[in-house]
Protein backbone atom coordinates (compact mmCIF):
# COMPACT_ATOMS: atom_id res chain seq x y z
CA UNK A 1 0.00 0.00 0.00
CA UNK A 2 2.90 2.39 0.52
CA UNK A 3 3.67 2.56 -3.22
CA UNK A 4 0.14 3.84 -3.87
CA UNK A 5 0.26 6.54 -1.20
CA UNK A 6 0.93 9.82 -3.02
CA UNK A 7 0.58 12.39 -0.25
CA UNK A 8 3.46 13.91 1.70
CA UNK A 9 4.68 11.90 4.67
CA UNK A 10 5.99 13.50 7.85
CA UNK A 11 9.74 13.97 8.07
CA UNK A 12 10.38 13.51 11.80
CA UNK A 13 13.18 15.24 13.68
CA UNK A 14 15.00 13.65 16.62
CA UNK A 15 12.68 15.67 18.86
CA UNK A 16 9.44 14.54 17.18
CA UNK A 17 10.35 10.89 16.50
CA UNK A 18 8.74 9.62 19.75
CA UNK A 19 5.42 11.22 18.73
CA UNK A 20 5.43 9.33 15.44
CA UNK A 21 6.62 6.10 17.07
CA UNK A 22 3.69 6.34 19.49
CA UNK A 23 1.02 6.95 16.83
CA UNK A 24 2.44 4.01 14.92
CA UNK A 25 1.45 1.97 18.03
CA UNK A 26 -1.95 3.73 17.97
CA UNK A 27 -1.15 5.85 21.01
CA UNK A 28 -1.39 9.62 21.14
CA UNK A 29 1.44 10.85 23.36
CA UNK A 30 2.50 14.41 24.06
CA UNK A 31 5.37 15.82 26.05
CA UNK A 32 4.43 16.70 29.62
CA UNK A 33 6.51 18.71 32.04
CA UNK A 34 7.40 16.73 35.15
CA UNK A 35 7.96 19.96 37.08
CA UNK A 36 4.80 21.98 36.38
CA UNK A 37 2.49 19.44 34.70
CA UNK A 38 1.96 21.34 31.43
CA UNK A 39 1.52 19.49 28.15
CA UNK A 40 2.86 21.07 24.96
CA UNK A 41 2.97 20.64 21.21
CA UNK A 42 4.83 20.80 18.82
CA UNK A 43 7.79 18.99 20.37
CA UNK A 44 10.62 20.88 22.02
CA UNK A 45 13.43 20.15 24.45
CA UNK A 46 12.22 22.25 27.41
CA UNK A 47 8.81 23.09 28.87
CA UNK A 48 7.65 26.39 27.31
CA UNK A 49 5.94 27.34 30.59
CA UNK A 50 8.74 26.83 33.13
CA UNK A 51 11.71 25.85 30.91
CA UNK A 52 12.23 22.62 32.82
CA UNK A 53 14.13 20.01 30.82
CA UNK A 54 12.41 17.22 32.79
CA UNK A 55 9.54 15.82 30.73
CA UNK A 56 8.03 12.59 29.51
CA UNK A 57 5.94 11.45 26.55
CA UNK A 58 2.60 10.84 28.29
CA UNK A 59 -0.52 9.24 26.93
CA UNK A 60 -3.35 11.73 26.40
CA UNK A 61 -7.10 11.17 26.22
CA UNK A 62 -7.39 11.66 22.45
CA UNK A 63 -10.51 13.71 23.13
CA UNK A 64 -10.90 17.28 22.01
CA UNK A 65 -12.96 19.75 20.04
CA UNK A 66 -12.65 21.40 16.65
CA UNK A 67 -11.04 24.78 17.39
CA UNK A 68 -11.31 25.87 13.76
CA UNK A 69 -11.30 24.31 10.31
CA UNK A 70 -11.04 25.06 6.62
CA UNK A 71 -12.19 23.15 3.58
CA UNK A 72 -9.51 23.05 0.92
CA UNK A 73 -10.73 23.50 -2.65
CA UNK A 74 -7.31 23.97 -4.23
CA UNK A 75 -4.62 21.31 -4.50
CA UNK A 76 -1.22 22.58 -3.44
CA UNK A 77 0.18 19.07 -3.77
CA UNK A 78 -0.73 16.52 -6.47
CA UNK A 79 -1.45 13.89 -3.80
CA UNK A 80 -4.54 15.79 -2.68
CA UNK A 81 -5.94 16.51 -6.14
CA UNK A 82 -8.45 13.65 -6.04
CA UNK A 83 -9.59 14.46 -2.50
CA UNK A 84 -10.91 17.98 -3.14
CA UNK A 85 -12.69 19.37 -1.27
CA UNK A 86 -11.17 18.06 1.97
CA UNK A 87 -11.07 19.51 5.47
CA UNK A 88 -8.13 20.52 7.62
CA UNK A 89 -8.92 21.17 11.27
CA UNK A 90 -7.18 22.59 14.31
CA UNK A 91 -8.03 20.23 17.16
CA UNK A 92 -7.98 21.52 20.75
CA UNK A 93 -7.13 18.53 22.92
CA UNK A 94 -8.61 18.28 26.41
CA UNK A 95 -5.08 18.45 27.80
CA UNK A 96 -4.54 21.88 26.20
CA UNK A 97 -2.32 21.59 23.15
CA UNK A 98 -3.74 22.14 19.68
CA UNK A 99 -2.75 20.22 16.62
CA UNK A 100 -3.56 20.14 12.93
CA UNK A 101 -5.34 17.11 11.53
CA UNK A 102 -8.34 16.01 9.46
CA UNK A 103 -11.82 15.16 10.70
CA UNK A 104 -12.95 11.86 9.20
CA UNK A 105 -16.27 10.05 9.39
CA UNK A 106 -18.44 13.05 8.68
CA UNK A 107 -19.22 15.32 5.74
CA UNK A 108 -17.48 18.68 5.50
CA UNK A 109 -20.88 20.39 5.75
CA UNK A 110 -21.40 18.83 9.20
CA UNK A 111 -18.26 20.32 10.71
CA UNK A 112 -18.55 23.15 13.21
CA UNK A 113 -16.32 25.05 15.61
CA UNK A 114 -16.64 23.35 18.99
CA UNK A 115 -17.54 19.91 17.58
CA UNK A 116 -16.45 17.14 20.01
CA UNK A 117 -14.00 14.72 18.40
CA UNK A 118 -11.75 11.82 19.31
CA UNK A 119 -8.56 10.47 17.82
CA UNK A 120 -8.46 7.60 15.29
CA UNK A 121 -5.30 6.17 13.81
CA UNK A 122 -4.88 6.00 10.05
CA UNK A 123 -2.15 3.58 8.96
CA UNK A 124 -1.39 5.30 5.68
CA UNK A 125 1.69 3.19 4.79
CA UNK A 126 3.44 0.13 6.16
CA UNK A 127 5.50 2.36 8.45
CA UNK A 128 3.59 5.61 8.93
CA UNK A 129 0.41 6.30 10.89
CA UNK A 130 -1.37 9.65 11.03
CA UNK A 131 -3.55 10.71 13.99
CA UNK A 132 -6.92 11.83 12.67
CA UNK A 133 -10.15 12.70 14.45
CA UNK A 134 -13.78 11.64 14.17
CA UNK A 135 -16.96 13.01 15.72
CA UNK A 136 -17.18 11.77 19.31
CA UNK A 137 -20.24 9.58 19.76
CA UNK A 138 -22.49 10.52 22.63
CA UNK A 139 -20.77 13.87 23.21
Amino acid sequence: MSEAYAKPLPVPTPESQPFWDAVRRHELRLQRCQACGQFWFPPSNVCPECLSPAWAWELVSGRGTVFSFVVMHRAYHPGFRNELPYNVAVIALEEGPRLVSNVVGCRNEELYVGMPVEVVFDDVTDTVTLPKFRPRPGA
Partner: protein, 394 residues
Protein backbone atom coordinates in the same frame (compact mmCIF):
# COMPACT_ATOMS: atom_id res chain seq x y z
CA UNK B 1 3.14 58.84 32.82
CA UNK B 2 4.06 59.35 29.15
CA UNK B 3 5.20 56.43 27.04
CA UNK B 4 9.01 56.22 27.13
CA UNK B 5 9.01 56.29 23.33
CA UNK B 6 7.21 59.66 23.32
CA UNK B 7 10.67 61.20 23.42
CA UNK B 8 11.00 60.21 19.74
CA UNK B 9 7.53 61.44 18.73
CA UNK B 10 7.66 63.64 15.59
CA UNK B 11 11.46 63.89 15.79
CA UNK B 12 11.98 61.82 12.62
CA UNK B 13 10.25 62.06 9.29
CA UNK B 14 9.62 60.31 6.00
CA UNK B 15 10.96 62.71 3.40
CA UNK B 16 10.82 60.60 0.26
CA UNK B 17 8.76 57.71 -1.10
CA UNK B 18 9.13 55.63 -4.24
CA UNK B 19 7.85 52.52 -5.91
CA UNK B 20 8.62 50.40 -8.91
CA UNK B 21 6.25 49.17 -11.55
CA UNK B 22 3.64 47.03 -9.74
CA UNK B 23 1.86 43.91 -10.91
CA UNK B 24 2.92 41.40 -13.54
CA UNK B 25 6.36 42.53 -14.65
CA UNK B 26 7.85 39.75 -16.78
CA UNK B 27 11.61 39.41 -16.48
CA UNK B 28 11.79 41.48 -13.31
CA UNK B 29 14.14 40.67 -10.45
CA UNK B 30 13.44 41.38 -6.79
CA UNK B 31 16.68 43.33 -6.46
CA UNK B 32 16.08 45.32 -9.63
CA UNK B 33 12.59 46.37 -8.59
CA UNK B 34 13.79 47.53 -5.18
CA UNK B 35 16.72 49.38 -6.74
CA UNK B 36 14.20 51.35 -8.82
CA UNK B 37 11.96 52.03 -5.83
CA UNK B 38 14.87 53.19 -3.64
CA UNK B 39 16.24 55.41 -6.43
CA UNK B 40 12.76 56.93 -6.81
CA UNK B 41 12.44 57.51 -3.06
CA UNK B 42 15.86 59.18 -2.86
CA UNK B 43 15.04 61.45 -5.82
CA UNK B 44 11.56 62.18 -4.44
CA UNK B 45 13.32 63.55 -1.34
CA UNK B 46 15.52 65.75 -3.52
CA UNK B 47 18.59 63.80 -2.41
CA UNK B 48 21.26 61.69 -4.13
CA UNK B 49 22.82 58.38 -3.17
CA UNK B 50 25.72 60.38 -1.65
CA UNK B 51 23.31 61.72 0.99
CA UNK B 52 22.27 58.26 2.23
CA UNK B 53 24.28 56.63 5.02
CA UNK B 54 21.86 53.93 6.16
CA UNK B 55 20.09 51.02 4.43
CA UNK B 56 17.51 48.67 5.94
CA UNK B 57 16.02 46.32 3.41
CA UNK B 58 14.18 43.10 2.82
CA UNK B 59 13.44 40.88 -0.14
CA UNK B 60 12.66 37.25 -0.85
CA UNK B 61 13.88 35.01 1.96
CA UNK B 62 16.43 33.26 -0.23
CA UNK B 63 18.57 36.39 -0.78
CA UNK B 64 21.33 36.31 1.82
CA UNK B 65 22.47 39.63 3.36
CA UNK B 66 20.02 41.49 1.17
CA UNK B 67 21.14 44.97 2.28
CA UNK B 68 24.67 44.31 0.97
CA UNK B 69 23.28 43.79 -2.53
CA UNK B 70 21.28 46.99 -2.28
CA UNK B 71 24.27 49.02 -1.11
CA UNK B 72 26.33 47.66 -3.99
CA UNK B 73 23.64 48.55 -6.52
CA UNK B 74 22.98 52.01 -5.10
CA UNK B 75 26.66 52.90 -4.59
CA UNK B 76 26.36 53.36 -0.85
CA UNK B 77 28.87 52.41 1.84
CA UNK B 78 26.42 52.60 4.71
CA UNK B 79 27.33 53.55 8.26
CA UNK B 80 24.35 51.48 9.38
CA UNK B 81 22.76 48.67 7.39
CA UNK B 82 20.94 45.40 7.88
CA UNK B 83 18.31 43.15 6.37
CA UNK B 84 15.15 42.26 8.29
CA UNK B 85 13.45 38.92 8.79
CA UNK B 86 10.00 39.51 10.26
CA UNK B 87 7.78 38.87 7.26
CA UNK B 88 5.19 41.54 6.58
CA UNK B 89 5.90 43.16 9.93
CA UNK B 90 9.41 44.04 8.70
CA UNK B 91 8.68 47.21 6.73
CA UNK B 92 7.44 49.27 9.70
CA UNK B 93 10.13 47.72 11.86
CA UNK B 94 12.66 49.08 9.33
CA UNK B 95 11.32 52.62 9.77
CA UNK B 96 11.39 52.34 13.57
CA UNK B 97 14.92 50.95 13.45
CA UNK B 98 15.94 53.84 11.19
CA UNK B 99 14.64 56.33 13.77
CA UNK B 100 16.50 54.55 16.56
CA UNK B 101 19.74 54.38 14.58
CA UNK B 102 19.58 58.08 13.69
CA UNK B 103 18.68 58.90 17.29
CA UNK B 104 21.74 56.99 18.47
CA UNK B 105 23.92 59.02 16.13
CA UNK B 106 24.83 55.99 14.02
CA UNK B 107 23.67 57.55 10.72
CA UNK B 108 21.55 60.49 9.58
CA UNK B 109 19.54 59.51 6.49
CA UNK B 110 18.25 55.99 5.90
CA UNK B 111 16.59 54.39 2.90
CA UNK B 112 14.34 51.41 3.71
CA UNK B 113 12.27 49.19 1.47
CA UNK B 114 11.03 45.84 0.27
CA UNK B 115 10.94 44.34 -3.21
CA UNK B 116 9.78 41.02 -4.64
CA UNK B 117 9.20 39.35 -8.00
CA UNK B 118 6.67 36.80 -6.77
CA UNK B 119 4.49 36.82 -9.89
CA UNK B 120 7.50 36.19 -12.13
CA UNK B 121 8.78 33.45 -9.82
CA UNK B 122 5.37 31.79 -9.70
CA UNK B 123 5.13 31.79 -13.48
CA UNK B 124 8.62 30.36 -13.87
CA UNK B 125 7.60 26.71 -13.35
CA UNK B 126 4.57 24.45 -13.09
CA UNK B 127 5.67 23.42 -9.61
CA UNK B 128 5.76 27.03 -8.45
CA UNK B 129 2.36 27.70 -10.02
CA UNK B 130 0.86 24.85 -8.05
CA UNK B 131 2.52 25.53 -4.73
CA UNK B 132 2.38 29.32 -4.67
CA UNK B 133 4.64 28.79 -1.68
CA UNK B 134 7.76 30.61 -2.76
CA UNK B 135 9.64 29.98 0.44
CA UNK B 136 12.91 28.10 0.13
CA UNK B 137 12.26 24.37 0.56
CA UNK B 138 14.34 24.18 3.73
CA UNK B 139 12.01 26.74 5.36
CA UNK B 140 8.85 24.79 4.61
CA UNK B 141 7.17 22.70 7.27
CA UNK B 142 8.12 19.02 7.03
CA UNK B 143 5.69 17.55 9.56
CA UNK B 144 2.41 18.25 11.39
CA UNK B 145 1.04 20.12 8.34
CA UNK B 146 1.68 18.82 4.82
CA UNK B 147 0.70 15.24 5.62
CA UNK B 148 -2.78 16.54 6.52
CA UNK B 149 -3.02 18.67 3.39
CA UNK B 150 -2.44 21.95 5.22
CA UNK B 151 -0.62 24.23 2.79
CA UNK B 152 -0.51 27.92 2.15
CA UNK B 153 -1.16 31.16 3.95
CA UNK B 154 -4.80 31.22 2.82
CA UNK B 155 -5.61 28.21 5.02
CA UNK B 156 -3.79 29.73 8.00
CA UNK B 157 -5.77 32.95 7.84
CA UNK B 158 -8.99 31.12 6.95
CA UNK B 159 -8.73 29.28 10.30
CA UNK B 160 -8.94 32.72 11.89
CA UNK B 161 -11.84 33.83 9.71
CA UNK B 162 -13.78 30.63 10.50
CA UNK B 163 -13.30 31.08 14.23
CA UNK B 164 -14.26 34.76 14.06
CA UNK B 165 -17.43 33.74 12.21
CA UNK B 166 -18.24 31.17 14.90
CA UNK B 167 -17.54 33.52 17.83
CA UNK B 168 -19.02 36.75 16.47
CA UNK B 169 -21.34 35.89 13.59
CA UNK B 170 -19.12 37.45 10.93
CA UNK B 171 -20.42 36.63 7.44
CA UNK B 172 -19.07 35.90 3.97
CA UNK B 173 -20.78 39.08 2.70
CA UNK B 174 -18.87 41.13 5.28
CA UNK B 175 -15.58 39.66 4.08
CA UNK B 176 -16.78 40.51 0.58
CA UNK B 177 -17.26 44.18 1.46
CA UNK B 178 -13.54 44.43 2.20
CA UNK B 179 -12.56 42.99 -1.19
CA UNK B 180 -15.11 45.07 -3.10
CA UNK B 181 -14.23 48.36 -1.37
CA UNK B 182 -10.51 47.96 -1.98
CA UNK B 183 -11.14 47.04 -5.62
CA UNK B 184 -13.16 50.25 -5.93
CA UNK B 185 -10.14 52.18 -4.62
CA UNK B 186 -7.79 50.33 -6.97
CA UNK B 187 -9.99 51.14 -9.97
CA UNK B 188 -8.90 54.79 -9.58
CA UNK B 189 -5.23 53.92 -9.16
CA UNK B 190 -3.47 53.65 -12.53
CA UNK B 191 -0.60 51.67 -10.92
CA UNK B 192 -2.85 48.96 -9.43
CA UNK B 193 -2.56 45.34 -10.49
CA UNK B 194 -6.34 44.68 -10.53
CA UNK B 195 -8.62 47.54 -11.56
CA UNK B 196 -11.77 45.95 -13.02
CA UNK B 197 -14.80 46.40 -10.72
CA UNK B 198 -15.90 43.57 -8.45
CA UNK B 199 -19.54 42.95 -7.52
CA UNK B 200 -20.94 41.11 -4.50
CA UNK B 201 -22.41 38.51 -6.84
CA UNK B 202 -19.01 37.88 -8.43
CA UNK B 203 -17.49 37.66 -4.97
CA UNK B 204 -20.08 35.21 -3.60
CA UNK B 205 -19.85 32.89 -6.61
CA UNK B 206 -16.07 32.96 -6.98
CA UNK B 207 -13.91 29.87 -6.94
CA UNK B 208 -13.20 28.71 -3.37
CA UNK B 209 -9.57 28.36 -2.26
CA UNK B 210 -9.66 27.48 1.44
CA UNK B 211 -13.28 27.81 2.51
CA UNK B 212 -14.34 30.29 3.94
CA UNK B 213 -11.92 32.06 1.58
CA UNK B 214 -12.52 32.39 -2.13
CA UNK B 215 -10.21 33.84 -4.75
CA UNK B 216 -11.08 37.45 -3.85
CA UNK B 217 -10.33 37.00 -0.14
CA UNK B 218 -6.69 36.42 -1.05
CA UNK B 219 -4.11 39.08 -1.85
CA UNK B 220 -2.37 39.16 -5.19
CA UNK B 221 0.85 37.56 -6.31
CA UNK B 222 2.87 40.59 -7.30
CA UNK B 223 6.11 41.85 -8.76
CA UNK B 224 6.91 45.18 -7.16
CA UNK B 225 8.81 47.25 -4.64
CA UNK B 226 8.40 50.28 -2.43
CA UNK B 227 10.86 52.41 -0.48
CA UNK B 228 11.04 55.41 1.84
CA UNK B 229 13.73 57.80 3.05
CA UNK B 230 13.86 58.62 6.78
CA UNK B 231 15.80 61.47 8.37
CA UNK B 232 15.51 63.87 11.30
CA UNK B 233 12.61 66.34 11.41
CA UNK B 234 15.24 69.07 11.55
CA UNK B 235 16.84 68.02 8.24
CA UNK B 236 13.41 67.32 6.80
CA UNK B 237 12.46 70.99 6.98
CA UNK B 238 15.12 71.88 4.38
CA UNK B 239 14.18 69.12 1.91
CA UNK B 240 11.98 69.10 -1.16
CA UNK B 241 8.76 67.51 0.15
CA UNK B 242 6.42 68.44 2.93
CA UNK B 243 7.65 66.14 5.71
CA UNK B 244 5.52 63.40 7.18
CA UNK B 245 6.39 62.94 10.84
CA UNK B 246 6.80 59.55 12.46
CA UNK B 247 4.63 60.04 15.54
CA UNK B 248 4.51 56.56 16.95
CA UNK B 249 5.33 52.95 16.39
CA UNK B 250 4.63 49.75 18.29
CA UNK B 251 5.22 46.04 17.99
CA UNK B 252 3.90 42.82 19.40
CA UNK B 253 4.73 39.25 18.53
CA UNK B 254 2.54 36.32 19.57
CA UNK B 255 5.41 33.93 19.12
CA UNK B 256 3.66 31.06 20.88
CA UNK B 257 1.71 30.74 17.68
CA UNK B 258 -1.46 31.45 15.74
CA UNK B 259 -3.13 28.36 17.27
CA UNK B 260 -2.31 29.36 20.85
CA UNK B 261 -4.82 31.12 23.17
CA UNK B 262 -7.16 33.25 21.01
CA UNK B 263 -4.40 34.68 18.82
CA UNK B 264 -6.48 34.08 15.68
CA UNK B 265 -9.20 36.48 16.79
CA UNK B 266 -7.37 38.72 19.29
CA UNK B 267 -4.23 39.38 17.33
CA UNK B 268 -0.91 40.98 18.19
CA UNK B 269 -2.28 44.14 16.53
CA UNK B 270 -4.03 44.95 19.79
CA UNK B 271 -0.86 45.39 21.84
CA UNK B 272 1.16 46.87 18.96
CA UNK B 273 -1.50 49.51 18.32
CA UNK B 274 -1.69 50.38 22.03
CA UNK B 275 2.07 51.02 22.05
CA UNK B 276 1.92 53.15 18.92
CA UNK B 277 -1.05 55.20 20.15
CA UNK B 278 0.68 55.80 23.50
CA UNK B 279 3.91 56.88 21.83
CA UNK B 280 2.02 59.24 19.50
CA UNK B 281 -0.25 60.50 22.27
CA UNK B 282 -3.41 59.85 20.25
CA UNK B 283 -6.25 57.33 20.04
CA UNK B 284 -8.23 55.69 17.26
CA UNK B 285 -10.68 58.62 17.19
CA UNK B 286 -7.87 60.88 15.93
CA UNK B 287 -7.07 58.76 12.86
CA UNK B 288 -8.09 60.07 9.40
CA UNK B 289 -7.03 57.09 7.30
CA UNK B 290 -5.89 53.51 7.90
CA UNK B 291 -3.60 51.58 5.58
CA UNK B 292 -3.89 48.04 6.90
CA UNK B 293 -2.00 44.87 6.04
CA UNK B 294 -4.62 43.07 3.97
CA UNK B 295 -3.03 39.76 3.02
CA UNK B 296 -6.57 38.38 3.36
CA UNK B 297 -9.94 40.10 3.82
CA UNK B 298 -10.35 38.71 7.32
CA UNK B 299 -7.18 40.41 8.55
CA UNK B 300 -8.76 43.80 7.84
CA UNK B 301 -11.82 42.99 9.95
CA UNK B 302 -9.83 41.74 12.93
CA UNK B 303 -7.33 44.62 12.78
CA UNK B 304 -10.13 47.22 12.72
CA UNK B 305 -11.23 45.70 16.03
CA UNK B 306 -7.76 45.35 17.50
CA UNK B 307 -6.89 48.97 16.61
CA UNK B 308 -10.04 50.13 18.41
CA UNK B 309 -11.87 51.49 15.35
CA UNK B 310 -14.81 49.35 16.44
CA UNK B 311 -15.51 46.90 19.26
CA UNK B 312 -14.31 43.29 19.29
CA UNK B 313 -16.63 41.24 17.14
CA UNK B 314 -18.08 44.26 15.30
CA UNK B 315 -15.54 44.41 12.49
CA UNK B 316 -17.96 42.72 10.08
CA UNK B 317 -20.84 45.21 10.51
CA UNK B 318 -18.27 48.06 10.52
CA UNK B 319 -16.94 47.20 7.06
CA UNK B 320 -20.47 46.53 5.74
CA UNK B 321 -21.49 50.07 6.83
CA UNK B 322 -19.26 51.58 4.17
CA UNK B 323 -16.76 52.85 6.74
CA UNK B 324 -13.77 51.96 4.55
CA UNK B 325 -14.92 54.04 1.56
CA UNK B 326 -13.11 57.22 0.64
CA UNK B 327 -15.98 59.22 2.16
CA UNK B 328 -16.59 56.74 4.98
CA UNK B 329 -15.80 56.97 8.69
CA UNK B 330 -12.32 55.52 8.16
CA UNK B 331 -11.06 55.56 4.56
CA UNK B 332 -8.91 52.44 4.41
CA UNK B 333 -6.41 51.06 1.87
CA UNK B 334 -7.18 53.96 -0.42
CA UNK B 335 -4.82 52.77 -3.16
CA UNK B 336 -6.41 49.31 -3.30
CA UNK B 337 -4.32 47.42 -0.78
CA UNK B 338 -2.68 44.06 -1.29
CA UNK B 339 -6.00 42.62 -2.37
CA UNK B 340 -6.11 44.84 -5.49
CA UNK B 341 -3.17 47.26 -5.82
CA UNK B 342 -0.53 44.57 -5.31
CA UNK B 343 1.09 42.62 -2.49
CA UNK B 344 4.40 44.27 -1.70
CA UNK B 345 4.45 43.08 1.92
CA UNK B 346 3.01 46.27 3.40
CA UNK B 347 5.38 48.66 1.68
CA UNK B 348 2.75 50.22 -0.59
CA UNK B 349 0.57 50.92 2.46
CA UNK B 350 3.36 53.12 3.84
CA UNK B 351 3.82 54.88 0.50
CA UNK B 352 0.07 55.51 0.23
CA UNK B 353 -0.14 56.91 3.77
CA UNK B 354 2.64 59.39 2.97
CA UNK B 355 0.88 60.57 -0.20
CA UNK B 356 -2.41 60.97 1.64
CA UNK B 357 -0.73 63.02 4.37
CA UNK B 358 1.08 65.19 1.83
CA UNK B 359 -2.33 65.69 0.19
CA UNK B 360 -0.93 65.06 -3.26
CA UNK B 361 -3.37 62.40 -4.48
CA UNK B 362 -5.85 63.40 -7.23
CA UNK B 363 -9.19 64.66 -5.79
CA UNK B 364 -11.01 61.38 -6.51
CA UNK B 365 -8.44 59.48 -4.41
CA UNK B 366 -7.58 62.05 -1.73
CA UNK B 367 -8.88 61.67 1.84
CA UNK B 368 -10.08 65.16 2.80
CA UNK B 369 -8.29 66.91 5.69
CA UNK B 370 -5.92 64.00 6.14
CA UNK B 371 -3.65 64.72 9.09
CA UNK B 372 -3.09 61.39 10.86
CA UNK B 373 -2.61 57.94 9.33
CA UNK B 374 -2.28 54.49 10.85
CA UNK B 375 -0.30 51.87 8.94
CA UNK B 376 -0.03 48.22 9.95
CA UNK B 377 2.29 45.35 9.17
CA UNK B 378 1.59 41.70 9.88
CA UNK B 379 3.74 38.72 9.24
CA UNK B 380 6.14 36.04 10.18
CA UNK B 381 3.95 33.02 10.66
CA UNK B 382 0.94 35.32 11.11
CA UNK B 383 1.91 36.25 14.65
CA UNK B 384 4.12 39.35 14.36
CA UNK B 385 2.57 42.80 14.16
CA UNK B 386 3.98 46.27 13.64
CA UNK B 387 2.10 49.53 13.90
CA UNK B 388 3.03 52.98 12.60
CA UNK B 389 1.40 56.35 13.16
CA UNK B 390 2.27 59.14 10.75
CA UNK B 391 1.32 62.80 10.98
CA UNK B 392 1.36 65.60 8.43
CA UNK B 393 3.86 68.31 9.34
CA UNK B 394 2.00 71.40 10.57
Amino acid sequence: MPHPGARLRDRYAIVGVGQSEIGEVPGSTALGLLTTAMKNAIEDAGLTNKDIDGIISRGPDDIYCHHQRMGQRLGINARFSTSLDNGGASQILAIALACMAIDAGLCHTVVTGFGRNSWSRKESSEQNRMGVNLRPVEQQEQEFRPEFGYFGEAATHAFGARRHMALYGTTKEQLGHVAITFRKHASKNPCAQKREPLTMEQYLTARLIADPFCLYDCSLVTDGAGAVVVTSAERARDLKQRPVYISGFGFHNNLRGWFFDEHMTDTAAKQAAAEAYAMAGIGPQDVDTAQLYDCFTYMVIVQLEDYGFCKKGEGGPFVASGALDLDGALPTNTSGGQLSEGHVEGMLQIVEAVHQLRGDRPPDRQVPHCEVAVVSGHGGNTVCHSSLILRRAP
